[in-house]
Amino acid sequence: MRWMKWNCGIRTLPIALLACAIAAPAAGQETTPAMLAAAAKEGKVVWYSSIDVKVSELIAKAFRADYPNIQIEVERSGSERVFQRINQEYQSGIKNVDVVNSSDASHFIYWKQQKWLAAHTPPDVKRYPAQFKDAEGYYAGWRATLSVMGYNTTLVPAKDAPTGYLDLLDPKWKGKLVKSHPGYSGTSLTGTYAIVKALGWDYLEKLSKQGVQQLQSTTATPKSIASGERAVMVDGNEYNMFIEIDAKSPVAIIYPKEGTPFVTSPTAIFAEAPHPNAARVLQNFLYTAKVQQLAVNEGGTRSLHPDVKDPPGRTPLAQIKILPDDPATMLPLVADIKKRYTALFGN
């Protein structure tokens, strides 16, 4: 069949050259007019993301405003669910995802090992601190959040609020706690692992006896305490807490005295993305100072972009005791963490 390839090659050489000329910028990093033209031809980009559904659509709206020729589809779910879906799809030969965002940074290590990712460094990422990006340019921290504690201020007076994880073992919190699930949420997984490192499984075992309501997403727990369904949240996205506070919901953030898990949430492009050019346009767009500032202001996230400022009223990162994430160490432990956790807290 070799001759056939040859034959085709010769016959289609001019077209191939042309395609090369168009496709070449895709290998480059900046959003060039040629890349844009190719992206517009693809017409669409599919973004799997674990960020809160309303924040994700906010970003999508901003993208549509800048690139009306590229239709953006958002598929939002919990990080672990996103991971399962992509793996399930790839195992079945379905190539649907272009760009992925997950709060479980170990996913990117895994996907990179599988050689499923495309190397691409958005121009802005060059200025991001080295510890938040892959040395070979396969992914970089698009957003960060803290997995914070929180409470409902009408149900719990500020003076009685817990100050850290160990306080939650007090019998007075029995039946009042809510926690997200590391089997669903990447932030929860990263955060729960940080808690395990700091306090041991022993702590979680005691916590599981406190009648903790088990929700799935770290975007769900802040909504639960805002509605008053539970009084205190063991973990939840700091950004959802900011959103609730901006909406005047009766909630307050607690940065636990043992330390607050810091969760980096990278994005990456899939090597077999069905819309490779549009994927690069989106990826470049996501890391710009403008979008980063939008996510910070409206979505409450933390940014790793050097030009982005936290709005007034939010505690600066420098003043918070951080429990850093460690995806490389966590990766081989993930299945075990989920299993042990589920045995204690249920699904």
Binding site: D52, E57, S77, Q84, S92, Q214, A226, G228, E229, G346
Partner: protein
């Protein structure tokens, strides 16, 4: 008459037999292939060797035994609750002078078409122990404080789950019993009344035995329906740390799927259901009766008098809990910013704007849902009508298999069917995973029994004598079919289509394993939103889905003789 039957058989066996064989093969492929793959997978170990290790693990590990027990007792409880509520309700509607019957029937139909998971969503908002509106009212009324006092209702419990399941399952029992009462001539009951028996005596001694088969069938369907539900336990029991079989299978199916275990876990379920179904047919099999030859005469209605009040109270409780309160809370949630806050100063169209102008999944989800619903309903109706006619008229060899195959999926929980389909259609030669086709197959298979039951009821009510009469006057069988049977079962066919359509657009338990990002349906989209507690958008989608469903029913009622309401 016997000779006319014999003549029919000899004349038509030529073309009906191959056709029937083709149908048997089609149904077998649809129903048996996934189950065969399921069985094989449950018996296959890592190294592709034959093994019982999955079963061993299943029965040794309390993590699997407990969900099995939970599922059994909760389903039985739902069945009992449904019979207790639906039996008196259907009798009241059919035999007494209860006022507002039309409205009541309409509301029961509304609970029937309300997706159970949607009811579960609504009941989270109503019966959440602390923020749930009913508990808020309760706390406010008695000056209590959440967390300090015991809530009036804790919907996140096995009991809460049973209650909500029963609310949306009782219409099955009601329909069975009410249909049965409608076709049973009331002469026997009138005779009993004339002989001086009080109304309750007649109801217990005459009517009850007559509808017993329908009650049992109803109980069975309620049991099976609850056992196969995924959404309600996932929404109400999981947050309380309670697993049922379906949620357990779902969690085993998360990537990397433990297919062997999931398959092994689904087979005991299958077995139990098959046994129950055998028991049911043993009870009902000998009591087959066709009671209408022509049109039934009017029934004399029993006067309720002072009993009207408690009778209406029963309806108010059941329908209030299944329709009025849930719909009310969904509407409220859709139009306020914070669902648990007061309405005043909280009103907003924000969720509607979000769902219809920003949420990028909306259009695709609606499109997929409708394509699937229409395709499954149309294909399903054609299939069950053909199968039903051939098998119930015992026209061909293999009619037993046809009937069996069409009813078999009732024993297959949607989620189990989905595992089977997944196993069958993710590898060559049939790679359907990731397309709507695999979900279509799931819906078609899953709705076969409902459709078959529905069309079967219509067909059974038309006694073959009617066709035979027309044959005696010289009509061919096809002519008799079109002139006599078709007009009589027309409403049945339309009803079947609606039943399948409604069953399809609300399907969650099979879809949850088979969907991919491109093939999401509304139900799955809502389930995703639930995992992040986005109640506003969920309420908007729920209302939209309900409105479309009701519009469909009104439209179809307009074209039929309004039998449905």
């Amino acid at each position: 008459m016997l000779s006319s039957r014999a003549a029919t058989r000899s004349r038509f066996v030529d073309w009906t037999a191959p056709f029937a064989i083709a149908l048997v093969l089609l149904l077998a492929a649809l129903v048996l292939l996934p189950m065969f793959r399921l069985l094989m997978t449950s018996l296959t170990g890592e190294a592709r060797q034959l093994t019982l290790e999955h079963y061993h693990q299943l029965f040794a590990d309390p993590a699997f035994v407990k969900p099995l027990l939970t599922t059994l007792w909760t389903s039985a409880a739902v069945g009992v609750l449904c019979v207790l509520a639906a039996a008196p309700m259907s009798w009241l509607v059919s035999r007494t002078d209860l006022p507002g019957k039309r409205l009541l029937r309409t509301l029961i139909l509304a609970s029937f078409v309300t997706p159970p998971f949607l009811g579960a969503f609504a009941w989270v908002l109503l019966g959440g122990p602390n923020a749930g509106l009913i508990n808020q009212w309760y706390y406010a009324l008695f000056g209590l404080k959440p967390f300090e006092a015991t809530p009036l209702i804790n919907i996140f419990s096995a009991g809460g789950m049973v209650f909500v399941m029963a609310l949306y399952t009782f219409p099955y029992v009601f329909t069975f019993v009410a249909n049965s009462l409608d076709v049973i001539p009331s002469e026997l009951e009138e005779a009993s009344a004339i002989l001086g028996a009080p109304a309750w005596r007649t109801a217990l001694d005459i009517t009850l035995p007559l509808v017993m088969p329908a009650l049992l069938a109803g109980f069975l369907i309620a049991f099976l329906q609850s056992m196969t539900l995924f959404g309600t336990p996932a929404i109400l029991a999981l947050p309380a740390g309670i697993d049922t079989m379906t949620t357990k299978i779902w969690s085993l199916f998360q990537f990397p799927p433990q297919l062997g275990l999931a398959a092994a876990l689904s087979l005991p379920l299958l077995l139990i259901t098959v046994l129950l179904l055998r028991a049911q047919s043993a009870i009902m099999g000998r009591r087959g009766y066709s009671v209408i030859g022509g049109k039934s005469t009017g029934t004399r209605l029993i006067r309720l008098g002072a009993w009207t009040i408690p009778a209406l109270a029963l309806f108010a409780f059941v329908l209030g809990s299944s329709i009025v309160l849930p719909y009310g809370v969904l509407v409220r949630t859709a139009f306020v910013k914070n669902w648990s806050g007061p309405v005043v100063g909280n009103l907003s169209l924000e969720h509607w704007r979000f769902v219809f102008f920003e949420f990028s999944q909306t259009r695709l989800a609606f499109q997929n849902t409708f394509v699937l619903g229409i395709a499954a309903a149309t294909a399903g109706t054609i299939l069950v009508t053909t199968v039903g006619y051939l098998s119930l008229r015992k026209l061909v060899w293999g009619h037993r298999y046809l009937g069996f195959l069409a009813t078999a999926p009732v024993a297959i929980p949607g989620i189990v069917l989905a595992v089977g389909l997944f196993l069958s259609y993710t590898q060559p030669p049939f790679v359907l995973y990731g397309t709507l086709s695999i979900i279509f197959l799931a819906y078609l298979t899953k709705e076969l029994p409902v459709g078959y039951q529905q069309i079967g009821a219509s067909l059974k009510s038309v006694h073959p004598e009617l066709e035979d009469a027309s044959r005696i006057f010289g009509a061919t069988r096809l002519r008799a079919l079109f002139d006599i049977t078709a007009p009589l079962i027309r409403n049945g066919v339309i009803a079947t289509w609606i039943f399948i359509f409604i069953g399809s657009i609300r399907e969650l338990s099979a879809t949850i394993l088979l969907f991919t990002a491109r093939t999401k349906t509304i139900s799955v989209t809502m389930f995703d939103l639930r995992e992040s507690n986005d109640w506003g958008p969920i309420a908007v989608l729920s209302i939209t889905m309900l409105l479309i469903t009701f519009a469909m029913i009104l439209l179809i009622n307009h074209f039929t003789d309004r039998r449905l309401t």
